[in-house]
Point group: C2
Chain length 150, copies 2
């Protein structure tokens, strides 16, 4: 990839894939734009309606997401200037969005608070995401570690 991050054109921690992802989509709005794109939003106005985001910020975030290869912008013929759709890289953020959602469900809601739910085509909630070793052993922070490079 030849993408540069928002961070003054330098990665916060160039060798770390976590840090690079945070540099690209770790702001207040980008992942929520992706979330809404996954839920069917395609136009500037629709994103704005769902998010309540300032116009200039939305303009900037859409431009950046396109630049990063997460959204694709195409012209339309129906009076709307552009349609935004997730690229394959954008759709691949699904796992990340699900992980954020599941953590939020477990730790950011009181038991009785109403919340939106992500369901499959039969209306069932998803299985809990679990990091596994190649052989299927469940892994946690305690049973894994970062191997440095270079």
């Amino acid at each position: 990839m030849d993408v540069t991050p928002a961070t003054g054109n330098a990665w916060t921690d160039p060798a770390c894939p976590v840090a690079r992802t945070v540099d690209l989509v770790g702001d207040r709005w980008s992942l929520l734009i992706v979330r809404d794109a996954m839920d069917g939003a395609t136009t500037f106005t629709e994103f704005r309606r769902r998010l309540g985001i300032a116009r200039n910020i939305l303009t900037d975030r859409l431009r950046r997401l396109v630049e990063y290869g997460i959204l694709d912008r195409s012209a339309t013929t129906d009076g709307r200037r552009h349609t935004y759709r997730l690229t394959e890289a954008g759709q691949d953020l699904f796992t990340t969005v699900v992980a954020l959602r599941q953590w939020g469900e477990r730790h950011a809601f009181a038991p009785d608070e109403p919340r939106s739910v992500l369901v499959d085509e039969r209306g069932r909630e998803l299985a809990r995401l679990r990091p596994l070793s190649q052989d299927g052993t469940p892994l946690s922070a305690g049973t894994s570690h970062v191997r440095k490079t270079g």
Copy 2:
């Protein structure tokens, strides 16, 4: 949970678990602090050394992560004022960090760029996280949707 977000004490989108999680840890630094805590960092100085973050910002983020129940701060007897450790909620962010990492590996690196790798106790890379339905069917943004509440 009775936690309030950084966002001027109001949730960006109160019913959405994705948005609540972003409100809590979706800034430039929080998830990198959690990442380093998972990799063994426990002191102010150690976080600072690894991240290159400004002192006042680190102070603020540690305070917020403690307030949100993600880190636990305990006094020490060895000249360090405090030790920061992940709570259970903090450790549960492991899945989210892995999701960010795996996306970054796939989409934010050129094929030949050096990167750090997360491995299990035998040195093997993790299996790819995959959102699944309750019955084990793989799911994507296209085969799932958000069910609104309220």
